[in-house]
Every structure is written in structure tokens, then in C-alpha cells.
């Protein structure tokens, strides 16, 4: 049973526009949510996180929104740049020693 779901395997966005990546979760015990970016042949790179007690966190071009009642979060990238083309993983963590629970990822393609 998947506890973290990314229902869009891929997303194509024009350069300069907003990219919105979505993630749903089922486990109410998750305390934090993280977004990672992954290029081929590299490990995932941390982008941004949000605590379950907040509804928004912003870092430069990246903003994560959390809707706890809907068990939904989204990552907004504005403006989208060619270097943003990668696979984006949504991940959740609970009590610290349980590791991260990842979604299947969304392949973001930024078109010129």
C-alpha cells in the first residue's frame, strides 16, 4: 500500500512558466514532507521541506504548500528553467528512525 503517491509520471512545462508537482499521502503520522530532485546517474538532491504544522514554505523559486486536511502537498517552481528538467520525488518522514517514504516520482520536462 503506497503511503506517498505522485499520480503524474510526467509533466511538461514551458520555460518561464510555473511548474506544479503534486503529491498525496495517506499516513497522518508523517511529521515532515520533503522534495528531492534527481538527475540520471546521480543521487537525489534535497530541495525543500515543510513541517506538518505549517502550510507553506518558500525558498527562492521553490514553494511547497501543504493541505493537511486533504493530505496533499504541492511543489511550485517559478519561473521554470531548463535545468529544472529532472525527476522530482516527494518524500515523508515520521519519527526519525523510520527513514523516508518516497513517492514514485514525476519526470518534469521544461521545454524551451
Amino acid at each position: 500500500d503506497q503511503q506517498v503517491k505522485q499520480n503524474s509520471p510526467s509533466l511538461s512545462v514551458q520555460e518561464g512558466r510555473i511548474s506544479i508537482l503534486n503529491c498525496d499521502y495517506t499516513n497522518s503520522m508523517f511529521d515532515y514532507f520533503l522534495w528531492y530532485k534527481k538527475y540520471p546517474a546521480e543521487g537525489p538532491t534535497f530541495l525543500i521541506s515543510i513541517s506538518s504544522i505549517k502550510d507553506k514554505n518558500e525558498d527562492g523559486r521553490f514553494t511547497v504548500f501543504l493541505n493537511k486536511s486533504a493530505k496533499h502537498l504541492s511543489l511550485h517552481i517559478v519561473p521554470s528553467q531548463p535545468g529544472d528538467s529532472a525527476v522530482y520525488f516527494c518524500a515523508a518522514m515520521g519519527g526519525g528512525a523510520d527513514g523516508l517514504t518516497f513517492g514514485k516520482g514525476t519526470h518534469l520536462i521544461i521545454q524551451p
Binding site: G43, M93, K104
Partner: protein, 117 residues
């Protein structure tokens, strides 16, 4: 500063064999965790170690084992390899093992690509 280093980068093994994967965390990081990423899926948590003790374990069979050494480096061992063990194995390190890790995330290595034939 060196990031998380994993060795080897690629490995081909035969079914039934044993494999050892190695990971060196970022200097000063005391926690190491291991993940398995099968093609088309997200990474799946295998183990977490902190201060040389196992602190968390994912839903993997006993064929998978790990340990952490006094210098905080770690090994992942897999016995009796199956074709389904073919995957990218990722190691991640963090300074501590608490919620503060969420503020900066775990730092991942580039992984070891294991192919079982």
C-alpha cells in the same frame, strides 16, 4: 568537502551470490541510511544506523543486513541474491537522527547500480 561516497558504482553478480556495498558519509555525519530504488519506483527504505546501532529497518527480508563502523562508514550486505535485487542502492547520511534532519534533508550518494543475472 567530499559528499557521500559509495563504492562500487556498478556491480554485476550471479543469482545466489553475496554482495557487499560500501558507503562513507559526509565528515561529521553520524547517521547512515540505505535505500533500494528499483527502475520506475521511488527509493525504498532498507536500514538506518546511528552511532553504530541499527535504529530503523524497512520491510526487507533477512537476506539484507548492514552495519556501521566506528568511523561512521557503513556496509550493506545482501545474501542469496535474486534477480529482483537488481536495483540502484542509495546511501544517505545526516548529522543527527531527529526531526531537525527534515530542515536540510538527508544527503544522498550517487548510488551503486547492482545487476543480478
Amino acid at each position: 568537502d567530499a559528499g557521500v561516497t559509495q563504492s562500487p558504482t556498478h556491480l554485476i553478480k550471479t543469482r545466489g551470490q553475496h554482495v557487499t556495498l560500501r558507503c562513507s558519509p559526509i565528515s561529521g555525519h553520524k547517521s547512515v541510511s540505505w535505500y533500494q530504488q528499483v527502475l520506475g519506483q521511488g527509493p525504498q527504505f532498507i536500514f538506518q544506523y546511528y552511532e553504530k546501532e541499527e535504529r530503523g529497518r524497512g520491510n526487507f527480508p533477512d537476506r539484507f543486513s548492514a552495519r556501521q563502523f566506528p568511523n561512521y562508514s557503513s556496509e550493506l550486505n545482501v545474501n542469496a541474491l535474486l534477480l529482483g535485487d537488481s536495483a540502484l542502492y542509495l546511501c544517505a547520511s545526516s548529522l543527527l537522527l531527529d526531526a531537525s534532519t527534515a530542515n536540510y534533508g538527508y544527503t544522498f550518494g550517487s548510488g551503486t547500480r547492482l545487476t543480478v543475472v
